[in-house]
């Protein structure tokens, strides 16, 4: 858990200081933050052994609903 957090903090600090120095548009921050937040949430859940249903399962489920996959 701590390692996951540390990795994310290092990564985002590295990028954010770059962004701030170059005075990027707000949307860069928004997209960056949302992607990182999503990754962080999932990886924290994974680290805590609470694996959320994966997109693969979701896709499989949808395809089963449509009836292409048995």
């Amino acid at each position: 858990m701590a390692i996951v957090l540390a990795a994310f903090i290092i990564l985002s600090l590295y990028d954010l200081q770059r962004f701030i120095r170059k005075k990027e548009q707000a949307k860069v921050f928004v997209i960056y933050a949302s992607l990182m937040a999503a990754s962080l949430t999932v990886s924290l859940l994974l680290a805590a052994d609470k694996r959320p249903a994966s997109p693969a399962q979701l896709i499989e489920w949808i395809l089963k609903m449509i009836g292409v996959v048995k």
Partner: protein, 362 residues
């Protein structure tokens, strides 16, 4: 738009590396068991046609990336929406290849290393490659891709004495149905995935060669897969081949007195690396174009991080990965690889016919 240019040979190598990618680990054509060679040939023909569709789209819309074509042809809103789906698709594909790679490494080479470390370190290098730009990726493929067929040849020739060349018999024991199914799988994985190259084609310096390049790389892959298949089945026999988790690795273990196992890892690193970096590049580039951010490099880290996390998240175990690639992936890919591109091709033709009547009626 960046002015990076890649040469024909570089694109050919990138395309071949992309196609070769993780077929080292998962080759859907092998679902046809003894008739996989037939599935490889049929799938190769179909795959080449599919790549022809992508190339035609690129030729009808010169200097345009997939996102721009989508926006041009179907309006800004629909175009952006479909582009976002494609971004997801590329991210998903990259994370699948990450997972394949990690799963392979953890099973055979580093059994006690946590998979996230293997994937993470690989990702660091790929972020660096993607951020260096298309030109660097092209040059890297020039440097590394020639190794791939050499490795395949080395392993094949080392085993020439311990073979049963009739092992692929009988032909069509279970009829055509499984062959066609496997061939279809082979079209979607890896040929259909070259849709990601629509983000790269604008960088080619000589547009005229595009068709030839695509056809050649498809041919090259078919030949390579046939050699690998014939080697594996004649060494392992069909029973063991169906049981093996990672077939080429098992074959390479059998070379007497020589440990060439790392060569298979190298091949995987090269093929998988090419594939992932192209996918990440395509995803990041598309994302930056959809959101109107000038330089794609800003988002590479974020996207790659997401890919790495997704790669761990996506499957619980190795068998899920293998069966998903065989059973779900082909159908999941149909809209991305066939439906949307065909619509796009149709739209591009329609739009082109109108002005061309006026401009060059000859």
């Amino acid at each position: 738009m960046e002015k990076a240019r890649i040469s024909s040979i570089q694109l050919f190598l990138l395309l071949t590396g992309f196609l070769y990618g993780s077929t080292v680990i998962i080759n859907p054509a092998l679902g046809a068991k003894n008739d996989a060679w037939l599935a490889i040939i049929l799938g190769g023909v179909g795959g080449a046609l599919l790549m022809g569709v992508y190339v035609s789209i690129a030729l009808l819309n010169p200097s345009r990336t997939l996102v721009e074509i989508l926006r041009d042809r179907s309006g800004k809103f629909v175009g952006n929406a479909v582009s976002i789906l494609y971004i997801w698709y590329f991210v998903h594909l990259a994370s699948l290849v990450f997972r394949n790679f990690g799963e392979f490494m953890v099973t055979v080479t580093f059994p006690e290393t946590p998979m996230i470390i293997v994937i993470g370190i690989f990702a660091v290098i790929l972020v660096y490659a993607v951020n260096s730009g298309v030109e660097v990726m092209g040059r890297l493929s020039e440097l590394f891709m020639p190794v791939v067929p050499v490795v395949v040849l080395i392993i094949s020739l080392s085993l020439i004495t311990t073979r049963d060349f009739t092992a692929f018999l009988p032909v069509l024991e279970n009829g055509m149905a499984p062959v066609l199914k496997a061939a279809f799988g082979f079209i979607t994985f890896p040929f259909g995935e070259t849709i990601a190259f629509l983000m790269l084609f604008p960088h080619l310096n000589q547009k005229g060669n595009l068709k030839k390049i695509a056809a050649l790389s498809a041919l090259f892959l078919v030949v390579l897969c046939l050699v690998i298949f014939m080697r594996d089945i004649s060494v392992l026999g069909s029973g063991l081949m169906q049981q093996a988790t990672f077939i080429p690795h098992l074959t390479s273990l059998l070379i007497p007195g020589l440990n060439v196992e790392p060569l298979v890892d190298i091949n995987l690193l090269i093929g998988g690396g090419t594939k992932i970096s192209v996918c990440i590049y395509a995803a990041v580039k598309a994302l930056s174009q959809v959101s109107g951010i000038g330089d794609y490099r800003k988002l590479t880290t974020a996207i790659t991080t997401f890919c790495v996390v997704l790669s761990i998240w996506v499957y619980e175990n190795v068998l899920e990965m293998l069966s998903w690639a065989e059973k779900v992936w082909p159908y999941y890919s149909i809209p991305f690889q066939m439906v949307i591109p065909l619509i796009l091709l149709f739209l591009s033709f329609k739009k082109r016919v109108k002005p061309s009547n006026v401009r060059n009626g000859s």
